[in-house]
């Protein structure tokens, strides 16, 4: 539906709905998880883990679980017809708090298919599965580099058509629609081929702020640095050279409690006579 047709508030109910007294359930008593696509960069995972599942696992694995970390193991299953838990293209581990019940996952690559496993990672590196999600695919968010032999395209004409189809509206003023169009088109504007990127695995350090019965808080933090640079440019982050794929890069960095990081990004052209620089600083205060 479009525009709101009425902004008015609700008339006070005259007759009570028979069911309004009770609220909706917080769960359905079954250990399971579902993964939904959001956009080319994000997915939404939600889950329910019952106490009996936890009890069962504790009985099975005993003390190994006490020291284990709870993680999402995100499997890239693109092109895998039947996923068996180990045959994914690659996987990515990220820390998670089971009690959160849902999590937005930053997808390492757009245009891929994923399955998310929730489980324990033990000190000796074993993964203990708690629940496996459905498979979901996220869109590429850019123009395809697959060319159709039967429908040959003149490159110049195609670029013109792309522009005519909406790219012209980027950043032309402040109206709502233009903003919307602009945001949409940022994705198209990326280099129209290839995929990102390197994904650096990060340490798993949940910031547990003193637990007590009445109040507790768990939080963690990860930052994503991404960008693009001219072809053949040499790019470094904090002095370390990073690999560009089709001119783009993405770096994920975990921030531990009390971390103060400086991440200067430098680029220099192949000849070495021109440079550009972007400075990023991040601070994570310790838990209180």
């Amino acid at each position: 539906m479009a525009t709101n047709l009425s902004s008015a508030s609700l008339i006070k109910p005259l007759v009570r709905d028979r069911q309004t007294e009770a609220d909706i359930p917080s769960g359905y008593g079954k250990t399971e998880s579902y993964l939904l696509p959001k956009d080319p960069a994000w997915m939404f995972l939600f889950w329910e883990i019952t106490q009996s599942t936890i009890d069962y696992l504790k009985e099975q694995y005993g003390t190994a679980l006490n020291a284990a970390r709870t993680i999402i193991r995100l499997h890239d299953i693109t092109g895998v017809s039947l996923f068996n838990g180990t045959n994914s293209v690659k996987y990515y581990d990220m820390p998670v708090i089971f009690e959160a019940k849902s999590w937005y996952i930053n997808a390492p690559e757009s245009g891929r298919a994923y399955i998310a496993d929730l489980g324990y990672l033990t000190d000796d590196g074993r993964f203990i599965l708690v629940t496996r999600s459905n498979a979901t695919a996220i869109p590429p968010g850019r123009v395809s580099n697959v060319i159709d032999d039967k429908w040959m395209i003149v490159e110049g004409d195609f670029q013109k058509l792309l522009k005519l189809s909406g790219a012209d509206y980027i950043g032309l003023g402040a109206s709502e629609l233009m903003q919307v169009v602009g945001q949409r088109w940022k994705l198209t504007e990326l280099t129209p081929s290839g995929a990102p990127t390197s994904w650096s695995s990060f340490a798993l350090h949940l910031d547990k702020v003193q637990e007590d019965e009445d109040i507790w808080l768990n939080a963690d933090c990860e930052i994503t640095i991404y960008g693009s640079a001219s072809k053949n440019a040499i790019v470094t982050i904090n002095g370390q050279e990073i690999e560009l794929k089709d001119g783009k890069f993405t770096i994920h960095r975990h921030l531990s409690a009390g971390d103060i990081v400086d991440l200067p990004i430098h680029a220099r052209n192949a000849k070495g006579d021109k440079t550009r620089r972007v400075d990023i600083k991040a601070v994570r205060e310790p838990g209180k």
């Binding site: 309004t20 939904l36 959001k38 005519l164 109206s175 709502e176 629609l177 949409r184």
Partner: protein, 540 residues
Amino acid sequence: MGNEKGYLALVLHAHLPFIKHPEYPDFLEEDWFYEAMVETYIPLLSVFEKLTDEGCDFRLTMSLTPPLCNMMEDPLLIDRFRHYLNQRVELSAKEIERTHNTEFASVAHMYYDKFRRYQDLFENRYHGHVLQGFKKFQDMGKLEIITCCATHGYLPLMVHKESVNAQIKIAAHDYRSRFGKNPRGIWLAECAYNPGDDKFLREEGIRFFFTESHGILHGTPRPKYGVYAPVYCPETGVAAFARDMESAQQVWSAESGYPGDHRYREFYRDLGYDCDYDYIKPYLHSDGVRRNIGMKYHKITGRVPLNQKQAYYPQEARDVAAQHAGNFMFNRQKQIEYLSTLLDRKPLVVSMYDAELYGHWWYEGIDFLEFLFKKIYYDQDEIKLITPMEYLQMYPENQVVQPSMSSWGDKGYHDVWLNSGNDWIYRHLIKSAERMMELANRFPNAEGLLRRALNQLARELVLMQSSDWAFLMTTGTAKEYSTKRTKDHIKRFNELYEQIIGNRIDEGYVFNLEMRDSIFQQMDYRVYSTAAKEAVLAKY
């Protein structure tokens, strides 16, 4: 094919969520329907009648979503709308006297004349059934009525394909019962497309759907004609038509779009607030709170406070609408002329809008459409109006491209319907769908009360799945109502589910829900069976 250089397909998406509250004597959110009836749907029919009388041919594609069709045919809502319309006629007649010899005389006359005409059409031409009006123009070949997901359900966020299959099947069935043929096209709710869902469209005989621009631009392989020709989905051959952003922006833009012209009607200054309280009270809701009643006497004027708005002159505004229609046509001519130098076929520009923009938000949008149809028909022969089916008949060969997942919402994907403000609903929507499938599989041939309970369970599920609730939670308008509706359907679903599996169905409870959530009288819960889904997937 004539001498025209290219084609314009105008597409209007007419939709409202199913809102009906028989348990209250009057209900605020039901007004959305009455307002849209009197400001958009009947005025559109009035334009179609007029053009036809004058011999002016036109082409328009319009979705009439299943919830909207159900409301248009609901006896209670028809009665209540009749009352709403009678009240407008009565008030506008009084207003002619009150505004006599004031600057508001012409606008008061305008309302009276329009309300009388709409009343005449509603009562005497369509006998309370406006769908008959739309069907008439479809049968004449001028209007292509397309369907939509059953309750405007947001397909890419449905994990179970059984749910997708049901949203399409229920919609197609509803369409056939109303229009006597297969729907040839569909408006996927929010233009939200998920690769592969076209299989379920194909199964129902649906030949085309619409996507946002990047649905095709980001398709694989690269689309040769950009958004200016449809593409066929692989395996199913269902055609996808994408939105043209240039023509969208001319109408939609809040800043530079036509609707912002200072001579057009101001939406936020309304008689419901302006008139003496005792005079206007009979036309307000029973709680007596001042609200918009849909009669507005001022023009936008400029960036001035509401109390400094100037009087509205209908003829002046109508003249501006004619100018804007001329400008819109001129821009399409230029656009198509240029495109035809880049394409080796006649380009197609697809202009898609929410129907309620015309008339409800942009009051003169109805006049704009009337002028646009006339100008295109009488004043030129460079561009021609066309429907998607007519285009496909002219150009049956099209590139095969897998469209990308996309929607026409903010940022182009699912953010509006999946964010921290509404993500809690999916736990329940998905679980309920799973439970529905479980029961459909368990009871392949239910009869009697069990069958009624299962059908009602399916109604609660589809109503819960309306994308409108998640949308309203995000925009913040009617957040309370949309949250309550979602929770109500979840609770009713769970209660009914427990009754069914506990073998203790309360007939009174089922009856109560059948009266309230009365959408899809022909509902058949077996549409949720896994076998029904597998049957489709096995074919393509």
